[in-house]
Subunit: 255 residues, 2 copies
DNA sequence: GATTATGCGTTTGTATACAAATAATGCAAA
DNA sequence: TTTGCATTATTTGTATACAAACGCATAATC
């Protein structure tokens, strides 16, 4: 219970703390990554004090990070009852995908118009990184990088509100994939990502949008959204009940 | 300078403070309304301590409210340099409107499918309130209620991510209208709002979307987005220079 | 006289102490 | 044994104290 991760950078409180805002980002990124890696299961309670001790910062910083995660619907913030890792329902997942199709279509059209050569190069590099992560077997990083590709595309589109919305949608999608993706068969999204870049570079809007929509279909089809995801893990099955955290009594193994 | 608004509800700290979260909302709402009423001009600095004294709460609460406003791009949060009322540029305004057209189209289509009779009644009531505000000459409340109509419509559409995005877009639109709307001629949006409800109630998707798009056009056409909004207020005119703050050299009035 | 250096005052960033609420535990009674 | 209640303990909500950063003003130097 009291295994303690080494604080990432904390030792001297006064030494590096000068750069403001950085600590938030680090805590945010680590929690987010832990969720994608499924080291933090949906429903897990995120205690402010425990996290503060782990990361070597005060609850103030943790609170800011949780607030940001909550805004992206990756964690759920319940008044007076703390934060838990979100466990999106099938219906919530469907709503996210509906919004994503809408946004990705717009982003693709704008990117065909506005993406610069430099941005396209950066996108290609991201796809390579993504492919490497999956081939290394680092699924969490792969999912994250796949999301960052779509975020980068939004930046290439150049519409600030869309970028912000896309950030939230991508985060939620990553969580949904981590939670619902069936089988561990390779993601393969990097292949579709590359084709998409080609179409954008060729300024072929129709083709790019078509590829993007098929890409969305593929992501969708890899998920078990038809039924309530017949998991073989009792813990996962009852995670929505366990949110309130009941010591070790979660599995009625004994009685 | 030191005129102090009476604290909204604060007197006994222990008495009512039990309901958590409420204070944030109150502070948020008051600042937001003040911005819409243009009692807080774009570029105005929002000191945490000053606001805390005005509202009778600590900086902690103010900070949360500012954080929320910043997330909706209504205030700008500059690290180590405090918060200022946002002053969206013409380009930013165009981006917001682009996103709004996209979102409103989707929302309208979904609302035609899902809006209940009760929701439609609530929408009609909101339009009446909006009309009353404008006829009272309360422009700020009118702009705010007009925005809340669109937000309510998003709720009727029933897609959570869209609701969240719409909230941000509506806030920004309100700020843009407050900043760029030409002439004080009546808003008249309530008339278009009523027609829109009729079309939704008739489950006429094509008509509803058409009305919504024309409604967007009308809002757009009332704004001075063609040139840099020839304001007669020096403060507003140079607010974009004052943000980054370059000594007093921003206005070469004297030398 | 202009420009850079330095000190002071103000404002924000972070940690922490205290208060309030919620959840857990134990006891008593049916 | 179970159910309800009271007490205890843990956790969150808020305020505040302290530290660091920033802006401004004055002064010193070229």
């Amino acid at each position: 219970m009291n295994e303690q991760l080494q604080p990432l950078k904390k030792p001297t409180r006064t030494g590096k703390a000068g750069r403001s805002g950085t600590q938030d980002d680090i805590v945010y990124a680590h929690i987010f990554e832990a969720i994608l890696e499924q080291r933090l299961a949906p429903g897990t309670k995120l205690s402010e004090e425990a996290l503060g001790e782990i990361f070597g910062v005060s609850r103030t910083i943790i609170r800011r990070a949780l607030s940001r995660l909550a805004h992206e619907s990756v964690v759920l913030l319940r008044p007076n009852r703390g934060a838990v890792v979100a466990s999106p329902t099938v219906e919530e997942a469907r709503q996210v995908f509906f919004s994503r199709r809408m946004v990705e279509r717009a982003i693709t059209e704008l990117a065909v118009e506005h993406a610069t050569a430099e941005q396209l190069n950066e996108l290609r590099q991201m796809v390579r990184d993504e492919r490497d992560s999956f081939s290394r077997g680092d699924r969490g990083a792969g999912i994250r990088l796949s999301g960052e590709f779509h975020l980068k595309l939004a930046e290439a589109a150049g519409n600030a509100p869309l970028i912000s919305f896309q950030r939230s949608l991508v985060s939620q999608t990553s969580l949904i994939i981590a939670q619902y993706e069936s089988g561990n068969r390779s993601h393969c999204s990097y292949d579709e990502h590359m084709q998409l870049i080609d179409a954008i570079e060729a300024r072929d809007a129709a083709q790019a949008v078509s590829l993007m929509m098929h890409h969305m279909d593929h992501i969708d089809s890899k998920l078990n959204l038809d039924e309530e995801s017949a998991s073989d893990d009792l813990h996962a099955v009852f995670s929505h009940l366990l949110q309130t955290k009941k010591r070790g009594s979660s599995v009625p193994a004994k009685g």
